[in-house]
């Protein structure tokens, strides 16, 4: 057993990357401000001093070029990590991501492997407005070919990052700014936790029961897991027992974990910081709707997410559109009083 310490998620990610770079010369990092700056959100903090500019490479503001470069380098035997500073910028380089990095392995009939980790920052809550506050993970999970990892805490982040680097497929690793534990941005304390020093992995496709409960299931991920845990705590006073499922990865998706929990509680709240329509909350609700022969609901499914508007800048507006602990508490209460109609006899 290796000893553990409390780390922030940013430290845990940087540690995981550093350990893999130590043990595998083919791993290197490219991105904007990942060198001397250490990554705007600290995901590569300290790595430049340890590995030098040949392996921690600051790039021009040319996302299409350097992400495509990662794809080409991976095909030639390297294991690149490329950082897209904010996921909101995907629009300038999406073609290299989804038409090439994500599809080449399939189009090659599985004859090539592309071990690329794409890291990117997601999420709002600090008033960075419509072009710097989105989550967008559903967009990447919708299109086949990328594994999509969205950790909620430091321990998971390190294990999932090492798993991602060792995976022979492209992995999109999305970290929420509001749980990185940065010295310049408020974060949820629960996201900094005990992290073993030694390298370890967490398999993809295994959701985590972040809190056990019996009345209502909250399915969520990333920073929203921390909000859900606070909401659950708050609801104890009302004798409402909430189970919180942290999906951890969207591709692969642990459908069974969702069904297992909802079969137990009979009530589902899907909580998401992404846009409401055509996204994560729809997919999770659909999984239950498809399984109504084995799942017995006590209440209709509830979804809480950003109500199909861009993220507004002004604090009262942003707080209104991004689900808060209070919105989860209110939604759970509604679920406890709601009921479904009897199905018609056939």
């Amino acid at each position: 057993m290796s000893n553990t310490r409390k780390l922030t998620m940013a430290q845990a990610i940087a540690e995981g990357i550093g350990q893999e770079m130590q043990s595998d010369d083919t791993v290197f990092v490219m991105g904007e401000d990942i060198g001397r700056y250490g990554g705007i959100f600290g995901a590569t903090g300290g790595l430049l001093d340890r590995f030098g500019p040949d392996r921690i490479m600051d790039t021009p503001i040319s996302e299409t070029a350097f992400i495509g470069t990662a794809t080409g380098a991976a095909a030639a035997g390297m294991r690149p990590i490329a950082e897209l500073m904010f996921v909101d910028f995907f629009g300038v380089c999406m073609d290299q991501i989804y038409n090439h990095l994500a599809k080449n392995t399939y189009m090659a009939g599985g004859h090539i492997k592309l071990p690329v980790v794409l890291t990117t920052a997601i999420g709002g809550g600090y008033n960075d407005a419509a072009q710097h506050s989105q989550c967008l993970y559903a967009t990447f999970a919708h299109m086949p070919g990328l594994k999509v990892v969205v950790p909620s805490n430091a321990y998971d982040a390190k294990g999932l990052m090492i798993q991602a680097i060792r995976d022979d497929n492209p992995v999109l690793f999305m970290y929420h700014k509001g749980i990185m534990g940065l010295p310049w941005m408020a974060y949820f304390e629960g996201s900094s936790n005990e992290v073993p020093e030694a390298a370890y992995t967490i398999p993809f496709g295994q959701a985590r029961v972040a809190r056990e409960g019996s009345d209502v299931t909250i399915v969520t991920l990333s920073q929203m897991v921390q909000k859900a845990l606070l909401a659950a705590e708050e609801l104890v006073a009302e004798r409402i027992s909430v189970e919180v499922i942290d999906l951890r990865t969207l591709v692969p998706l642990d459908r069974e974990a969702v069904l297992r929990s909802v079969r137990k509680t009979g009530r589902l709240l899907v909580a998401d910081e992404d846009y409401l329509g055509f996204g994560l909350t729809g997919e999770i609700a659909a999984i239950v709707a498809e399984n109504l022969d084995t799942v017995q609901l006590k209440a209709p499914v509830k979804r809480v997410a950003v109500p199909n508007v861009p993220i507004p800048y002004s604090r009262p507006l942003e707080r209104f559109v991004i689900p808060q602990v209070g919105s989860l508490v209110a939604a759970v209460r509604e679920l406890m009083t709601a009921s479904v109609r009897q199905p018609l006899e056939v």
Binding site: E32, D33, G35, R36, Y37, I40, D58, T59, P60, I61, S62, T64, A65, F89, G91, V92, G125, Y126, N127, D128, A129, A130, Q131, H132, P183, W184, M185, A186, Y187, P307, N308, V309, P310, P312, Y313, S314, R315, P316, L317, E318, R319, F320, V321
Partner: protein, 335 residues
């Protein structure tokens, strides 16, 4: 092409306004963001205070904004960057509604929905974006509209030296040259793209040297001086107005503050800014104006006081304006 008294005084006045606005914002921005008001353990909280979120200030970069905009009319279009205040002020965007936007108030240009990187003023035809390289395509569009509507309007797209390596820049330069659009592309070289120096990002020294590859004039302004920019921009604006097509101007300028407020600037030589400030374009222009006899000490004091008051009024207006109602967030996705 000499600017002359009126234009030079206008540029000086605008530079004062910009500098005071940026310095005032640098102070106001820190309100509520430092211990002990914030989460324990934090040194700074970007999301707190009356003006939350990222804040990119342009102190030191006034010349490029005023030197170009001195040639523009209200019907001309300017598209700025994520660091937009100097462009907006030089284009005539009202300070009050601009400041109110940064305070997230209903009286803001975007009713508080846009924020400091997203200032839209259709009356003065100003807009900007937080996405690097994104200023060029819409400027081409404004220019194309001018052609189609038979107007002599021109459009200016400002972009940083770091943006120069973004694909959108290349596509826009080619399209504008191909269609002979009345656009002036202005590359603002402040040497840094956050922590990355130009030499680590761009394969040649002058972005303006790429103009030849599109068949358009490339103009270099090597000093951070309003008059030098004015003289370089004049012919480019006239060329555009005459329907002879686009130009690319590159201006060397200086970033006095961090990339954004709160930037630790670990990447930057400690004394760099101090040395840059020795060459501050505003006092230099003041002495020039006096030398020319365009301005007395008394008039200078008046202009300084005027700029201070305008900025102070703007911030007061912003502070005293009401917040939007939370549910207003659901409006304005569509008109």
């Amino acid at each position: 092409m000499q600017a002359g008294k009126e234009a030079e005084l206008w540029m000086y006045e605008k530079m004062l306004e910009i500098r005071h606005f940026e310095e005032t914002m640098a102070t106001v921005y820190l309100e509520g963001k430092l211990p002990p008001l914030i989460q324990k353990g934090l040194a700074f909280d970007i999301g707190s205070g009356p003006v939350p979120g990222e804040m990119h200030l342009a102190a030191g970069q006034e010349p490029v904004a005023v030197g170009v905009c001195a040639h523009l009319k209200q019907t001309d279009t300017v598209v700025g960057t994520h660091r937009p205040h100097h462009f907006a002020i030089a284009k005539g965007v009202p300070l009050g509604r601009m400041a109110a936007e940064m305070f997230g108030k209903v009286t803001g240009l975007g009713k508080g929905k846009g924020g400091h990187m997203h200032l839209f003023d259709p009356v003065n035809r100003f807009s900007c974006s937080g996405i690097i390289g994104a200023s060029l395509p819409p400027a081409c569009g404004a220019a194309l509209a001018a052609k189609k509507l038979g107007k002599d309007w021109v459009a200016v797209a400002f972009f940083g030296e770091g943006a120069a390596n973004q694909g959108a820049v290349h596509e826009s330069l080619n399209l504008a040259a191909l269609w002979k659009l009345p656009v002036i592309f202005v590359c603002e070289d402040n040497k840094w793209a956050i922590s990355v120096p130009k030499s680590s990002a761009t394969s040649i020294e002058w972005v303006a040297d790429r103009a030849a590859g599109y068949g358009m004039p490339g103009i270099k302004v090597a000093t951070n001086d309003a008059m030098a920019v004015y003289e370089a921009a004049g012919p480019a604006v006239q060329r555009a107005r005459r329907g002879e097509g686009p130009s690319l101007i590159e201006v060397k300028t200086d970033r006095y503050l961090g990339h954004f407020q709160g930037d630790p600037e670990v990447y930057r030589p400690k004394d760099e800014v101090a040395n840059l400030r020795k060459n501050d374009p505003i006092p230099r222009m003041a002495s020039h104006l006096k030398l020319q006899g365009y301005m007395t000490d008394a008039e200078e004091a008046k202009l300084v006081a005027l700029a201070r008051r305008r900025v102070a009024d703007a911030f007061e207006f912003a502070r005293n304006s009401p917040d939007p109602e939370p549910q207003d967030a659901l409006q304005d996705v569509f008109v």
